[in-house]
Symmetry: C2
Subunit: 316 residues, 2 copies
């Protein structure tokens, strides 16, 4: 079984969407990453930090799924990271109302000895210096390291961000972030510039429009599942990354063909997350539901011309 190391936040979120108010609920990138990855066959560990208020019953949600929490520190004098946000009518825009960094400000990551030689790594959104500290603790080169980041670090820790970007295999970011990082509007140009910074692969997330992969031989487009109701988009990107790395853990080598399939599995899982507040839907999700929607999802992208043209015939 492949070892996956996931780094990110374990936190409390509170969101208001057009459909209601979530109340205080478990959140954070590591929460979505780990829950999503746990649907696949692998040995997953989390590196994160929580405060005194992050109850054992929350940690049990991960333990029950076989997730190793020996890399999760508890700082007894601090509260957990807290984020409060407000989503506008169409869910494409959100405002941050409150960010309390709390325990995260004192986070000095420690990779447990059992995870110092992971096969696959996702460095979820954290200070790029912290992401680098995690890489420094590895005693062997992982097969694939995925880095997630956000515009905040581009503004506030650009040098550190550029240094960690140069050390990873795959950078995952959204359209606006790709444009901000490179100063280029065209995503094709932006992705080329990012690949010149180091990462062999770039995945640009486009929310309800899916995601684009840029690789050595070209690009690949993974759609998002059209949904009747989007309840709460929080965590969709992290769920995508968690499902992505989870599916990838079932392959011997994380090459480009495996990566394409993993994007589809990540997008499939993300389509569940947005159907309820926070991690609720992921927590009660079954393998059967995942497989059923995966079939729908694949139908969504399948057309006869694929066979015809790739077998060497043109459409003439």
């Amino acid at each position: 079984m492949k070892k996956i190391l996931l780094a990110g936040t374990l936190a409390f979120d509170e969101v208001t969407t057009p459909f209601g108010h979530s109340g205080r609920m478990m959140g954070g990138s590591a929460a979505y990453l780990a829950l999503a990855a746990s649907f696949f066959r692998n040995h997953t560990g989390i590196v994160s930090v929580v405060g005194y208020d992050f109850g054992e019953e929350l940690l049990d949600k991960f333990r029950r799924r076989g997730v190793d929490l020996s890399g999760v520190q508890r700082l007894e004098k601090h509260k957990s990271f807290y984020w409060k946000g407000y989503y506008y009518e169409n869910m494409n825009r959100r405002d941050t109302l409150v960010t309390e960094v709390n325990a995260l400000a004192y986070f000095s990551p420690r990779v447990p000895s059992d995870f110092r030689e992971p096969d696959l790594v996702v460095l979820g959104n954290l200070h790029p210096g912290i992401q680098a500290e995690i890489l420094n603790q590895f005693t062997a080169t992982p097969r694939l390291v995925v880095l997630d980041t956000m515009n905040f670090w581009m503004d506030n820790a650009r040098d550190a961000l550029m240094q960690v970007i140069a050390r990873v295999d795959l950078l995952m970011l959204n359209e606006e972030e790709a444009r901000q990082l490179t100063g280029e509007y065209s995503l094709v140009t932006a992705a080329r510039l990012i690949r010149n910074m180091g990462p062999r692969y770039v995945i640009i997330k486009r929310g309800e429009y899916g995601a684009l992969l840029f690789h050595d031989e070209g690009f690949f487009s993974a759609p998002a599942m059209p949904l009747e109701h989007v309840w709460d988009p929080t965590g969709a990107g992290d769920t995508f990354a968690g499902g992505f790395i989870g599916h990838l853990s079932e392959y011997d080598k994380p090459g480009v063909e495996a990566i394409k399939n993993a994007m589809i599995c990540g997008a499939n899982l993300a389509s569940f997350t947005v159907e309820d507040f926070g991690t609720k839907r992921l927590e009660n999700l079954t393998k059967e539901e995942i497989n059923r929607r995966l079939t729908d999802f694949i139908r969504l992208t399948r057309y006869g011309l694929q066979e015809k043209v790739l077998s060497g015939k043109t459409y003439e």
Copy 2:
């Protein structure tokens, strides 16, 4: 060979994009529709109107490709329809600077006798009353009638629009138009409401994000080709529709599987249109270039899991 009837405008456009100014150039929905459809095997006719200023050398561009112009009227006392627009930095927003309706205000469409029993029809963006008049002149039911429209008619001729929507097989519109027509933000809900209005198929165009098809058994997502440079988006939607109907004309029956393939071919052609001002790129495009990019396009959407899951295996 299938007969295709295309209705729409033949006009002059003038656009400013971040890359320059087009000058006065040939435009109009029927121009893009016919040029795109002409790359496929079929017999295509246009129903439209031009003024005294639309030179024979422009009409020759269509005649040379075998397009029948017996349904194109020339009003000698009027100028042709003229549109002037300005695209903002990211090309997703545009302002209309000038619209001169001119000859179009006096348009009373006449379907030539040779095209009264067409196999396939695209009613490009026109007053819905005019679109209905064209349908009234058919002496047999076409295999597929596609209707394109825009928000202007939703605001200004809603009753007539609803009547013509009820008479067609496929409605093609963009995201904002689908939302405006139905008052629903979710495209899944909007498409269901539109299908209740009459059309069996709905295609929602999403520009650089591709297009979604909603049909009896579900939906299908066609991506757009990621492009390094988008020069001028004018006509992309009409090129999509023209390539769509052109490819469809090569099938016996325009069923859902043919429609999916046709969306890919339409999106492929549209990716060329945006690479230069107006119809320039379509005019000098070769079959070879189309087929080469089609192969790239198909690679963009192809992944191994499609075979595996659709053959009945699940991914675990």
